[in-house]
Amino acid sequence: MKLRLPFAPLVALRFLREGRMQTLLILAGTTGGVAVIVFLTQLITQLQAQIVDRVLGSQAHVVIRPAEEANRRAIDEAGFASIIEPRAQRLRSIDQWENIARLAADMPGVTAVSPVVTGPAFAVRGQASKSVALMGVDAERYRRIVRMEEYMVAGRFAVDGTRAVIGSELAKDLGIRMDDKLRVALPNGRDELLQVGGIFDIGNKDLNRRWIFVTLPLAQSLLDLPGGVSNLDLTVADIFEAQPVADRLRGATSLTVESWMQTNAQLLAALRNQSVSNNLIRSFVVIIVALGIASVLVVSVVQKQKEIGILRAMGASRGMILQVFLIQGAVVGAVGSILGSALAFTLLNVFSAIYRNADGQPLFAAELEPRFIAMAAVVATAVGLLSALIPARRAARMDPVQAIRS
């Protein structure tokens, strides 16, 4: 059985094949354009995801804290001159934090809640003392906020009794190894002797120097917050939904609720700027490709004048001629998107082999997400179709008599 194409695609494909050089050139242009867009989109998406991933590697997506204390004037009348000194923020517990934690856990989009007690302390060993942040956590629950087990260089991420987990920098500074003893002293005069049960390297020197994880009850008693927690750390399913989740929680609890997007506003602004410039480049490339397709088809319509006239004389309607040229545009776009995606994949492979991080790892993975290929196919075909519109209408309006005579 022979493949018999309907009239419009049959003639469109034959015209494309006949116009060899033109077709090749415009296909090359479309392929290049698609490759640039796909390559750039994949690269930026990956790099942005990596940056966000790295930032969120040591942060909760959303943090709930007690409302800040503020002074209120008992008498608020005009004419009273008063100077109000801002209140110092003391360490306080979230009121009824178990209820708040339950409320947060039930909120759609929230996947984990972990209570944390944190406050300042000194780690002391021999003559050396370092300022640290004491973190009272339930290791099991905290693991779902920060994937601590992935960062452990010695021991396990588990706390009980006086067993603690400290960072690699602190261990180095104080000359501590696994199972060594370490004293923490607090500003309120309390102190405790801890045993190191694990050492982590979270990839951030500052945090490696500051964090000491102990059990929740131990931190509560050392920091004078019996039964209380200083903040609740949350993980959300979709990291870019952290802000709405935080807003809803703030509305429901009237506590201080901050998402990572607020804490890292500058980073987000930088990512957004990158996306804007990426969009700008993509738009320009689309326009240039569209102009290229349109101009080649305009020339083709003029060249095919006679053929158009013959087809019209044989009973082809204006609509059929219109279709012939629209299909040519769409085919150029569709084929260009396939070739362009293949080229982008090659580029990704080449560049990921060339550009490497300081640790020798590739800067980005040489993979192409199917959704970007699908996006390229849809956009390129649509652009091809739209850019063929003007030439196609011109072809359809052509007077058959004029066309045959010329």
């Binding site: 006949e18 087809l311 004389a313 009973g315 309607s317 204006r318």
Partner: protein
């Protein structure tokens, strides 16, 4: 008497209508062609032969008067209906073969059917092969027009004009571009199809020798029919 294949009454055609350079090229043409008639349209160049042929072929619209094809008045037809009527009931043979260079001889002959039916089918291909056989080109069916001689190209064009078995064949100097011998062949071919299928033929020609071999000679001078007589006298 059966309805004529074409009937023109008081047909006029003017260009640049409503402008200072308005020119009327056809001034009231009355003409009718019966089924199976084989007529020559002759006249000096500039007499309006091609314009008349284009109007009868529904490629151009007349300015005034009436044109009926197969008893159907064309004035009230829409652009789409005109196109369809042209495709299904009129076969064109042009002076220059006007084949589509991107398609083989066979595909060129199938093209009117593809246009009329939306796509090719086995029957269209069989018919096209028969027609190519009839014009003696079955062996060249898969060649592109560029690989054929002038006479062969014109034969393919004739086969194409006959593809949908039209009731009317319009030929604009079909042999004008060929040597005498080949011209005779092509003419004989048209004549033969005219006898077989009893379609009406109107042939524009400059060649008095060929015109004499038609049934009827219509002579156009300055946009008017100067005389219209049987060829034998």
């Amino acid at each position: 008497m059966t309805t004529p294949v074409i009937e023109l009454a008081g047909l006029t055609k003017a260009y640049n209508l409503g402008t200072p350079v308005e020119t009327e090229v056809l001034h009231g043409i009355d003409l009718s062609l019966a089924e199976g008639e084989f007529a020559a349209l002759i006249g000096p160049s500039g007499s309006g032969k091609s314009t008349l042929l284009n109007i009868i072929g529904l490629l151009e619209r007349p300015t005034g008067g009436r044109l009926s094809i197969g008893g159907r008045d064309t004035a009230s037809l829409s652009e789409a209906e005109i196109t369809q009527l042209r495709g299904r009931s009129i076969g064109f043979v042009f002076q220059f073969h006007h084949l589509l260079p991107a398609f083989t001889a066979l595909e060129n002959v199938m093209m009117p059917t593809i246009i009329a039916r939306g796509r090719a089918d086995d029957e269209a291909e069989a018919t096209a092969l028969e027609l190519l056989d009839a014009v003696g080109l079955k062996a060249h069916a898969l060649k592109k027009p560029a690989a054929l001689s002038g006479g062969q190209q014109q034969r393919v064009a004739i086969a194409r004009a006959l593809a949908l078995r039209p009731r009317l064949i319009l030929a604009d100097e079909p042999t004008g571009n060929l040597d005498t011998h080949t011209a005779d062949d092509i003419f004989a071919l048209l004549r033969e199809f005219n006898r077989q299928s009893s379609c009406a033929c109107l042939i524009v020609t400059h060649d008095p020798r060929l015109a004499a071999r038609c049934d009827r000679i219509v002579r156009l001078v300055d946009g008017r029919i100067a005389d219209d007589r049987p060829a034998s006298t």
